[in-house]
């Protein structure tokens, strides 16, 4: 599709700012929820092949805990919140105060799964509502779907819509992490926002930027 050729650095900067605002609000929400300090990295906006997209989340074989939302409304697209299993386990243990809970072969209690889904809901909800405020566009997220599975299987699903048009995806990737603890225990999550190809024009025009320059 010719649109990908028309993307310039201004557009990428705008998408970066979207990742910044969205994930910023999410990080704040998570920080309040856990009563801990959460840092956010500078968003990464990339045009990637599908295989590269998998690598961003640790490779197609990597098993992760994910929350997936389909966004409908003015700018349809897909959104993923992805955590590595040890970190997801730690996070849910902290949230429900249950040391037994584990995504890695331990007890998968109904409560823990529900907490993870709700967490995904809160984080992506704050991401999307800030995006909606910023752009004045209407976004209607679906009920979040939880999946603990291979990156390839999860992300592959989010690429279906896109794959009919292109072999590349524009991904807005923002990592959030916990500053204080050591690397193994710290939370390091990724938000992937994958707007459908037709959504980019709407995002840019909502923010007053020309696309066919």
């Amino acid at each position: 599709m010719s649109f990908f050729n028309n993307i310039n650095s201004t557009h990428l900067d705008i998408l970066k700012e979207i990742g910044n605002i969205g994930a910023g609000h999410s990080a704040t929400a998570l920080s309040k929820l856990l009563n801990r300090k959460i840092d956010m990295q500078v968003p990464n906006v990339k045009i990637v092949s599908f295989d590269e997209m998998m690598e961003l989340a640790g490779g197609p074989d990597n098993i992760v805990a994910s929350v997936f939302l389909r966004i409908e409304g003015d700018v349809p697209g897909n959104m993923f919140f992805i955590l590595q299993l040890p970190q997801a386990t730690k996070l849910i243990q902290d949230l429900i105060r249950d040391e037994e809970f584990s995504f890695e072969g331990g007890t998968l209690s109904e409560l823990g799964l529900s907490a993870f889904q709700e967490l995904g809901n809160i984080l992506s909800g704050s991401y999307l509502s800030s995006l909606s405020d910023f752009t004045q566009l209407h976004l209607y997220p679906s009920v979040p779907a939880l999946s603990i599975d291979m990156v390839g299987a999860i992300i592959g699903y989010g690429l279906i819509e896109l794959s009919q048009i292109s072999d590349y995806a524009i991904v807005i990737d923002t990592a959030i992490n916990e500053g204080e603890l050591g690397e193994t225990n710290s939370i390091n999550g990724h938000f992937f926002l994958l707007p459908d190809p037709n959504s980019f024009e709407k995002i840019f025009s909502a923010l007053g930027v020309q696309t066919d320059a």
């Binding site: 389909r70 009920v143 291979m150 390839g152 299987a153 592959g156 699903y157």
Partner: protein, 165 residues
């Protein structure tokens, strides 16, 4: 590793061909289908990681033939032929086509896994290639590896461990 062969990796919407002792693998099949077509006599196997059932869904200018069931099988057969596989001795195995997420508003896109499986089966029929075994459906991702020497397809899923078909 015990055997001396290489593992050839196939990405998403991609395909490749190997000869023994090498094996061929693709990772993280969700709603995608991994189809293996092999010639047991000549120890040649091709694998395609198919994303969508039909190239008529494509709105792209340039078609990636490995992405669609109706173009990938044809292309794969040509590649296998070039590597010494004979059309009369070809057989197939497939895995994937899971339904990763369940949503209320079940549009056609949401049924993409089963549709991919149907489309691949139809294509195999069209070229008169017998489907020996398959492991499709469910709601889990799969990583598959095929060994043209033994013609076994090894399938790994997250919660059910590894099995061979």
């Amino acid at each position: 590793m015990l055997d001396t062969g290489l593992v050839i990796k196939v990405g998403i919407a991609d395909m490749n061909v190997v000869t023994a002792p090498n094996t061929i693998r693709t990772s993280g099949l969700g709603s995608c289908v991994g189809v293996v077509i092999f010639d047991q006599v000549h120890k040649v196997a091709g694998l395609a990681h198919i994303m969508l059932p039909s190239s008529t869904l494509s709105k792209a200018d340039n078609l990636n033939r490995a992405k669609y069931a109706d173009t990938a099988i044809e292309e794969l057969l040509q590649l296998i032929g070039k590597s010494g596989g004979k059309s009369h001795s070809l057989k197939a195995k497939m895995a994937g086509g899971a339904q990763m997420f369940q949503f209320q508003n079940g549009s056609d896109i949401m049924r993409i896994g089963p549709r991919n499986v149907e489309a691949v089966s139809l294509e195999l029929n069209r070229f008169k290639i017998p489907l020996i075994s398959s492991d499709v459906g469910g709601s889990s991702g799969r990583t598959i590896e095929f060994d043209p020497q033994t013609t076994m397809l090894k399938i790994r899923t997250v919660n059910q461990g590894t099995k061979e078909i």
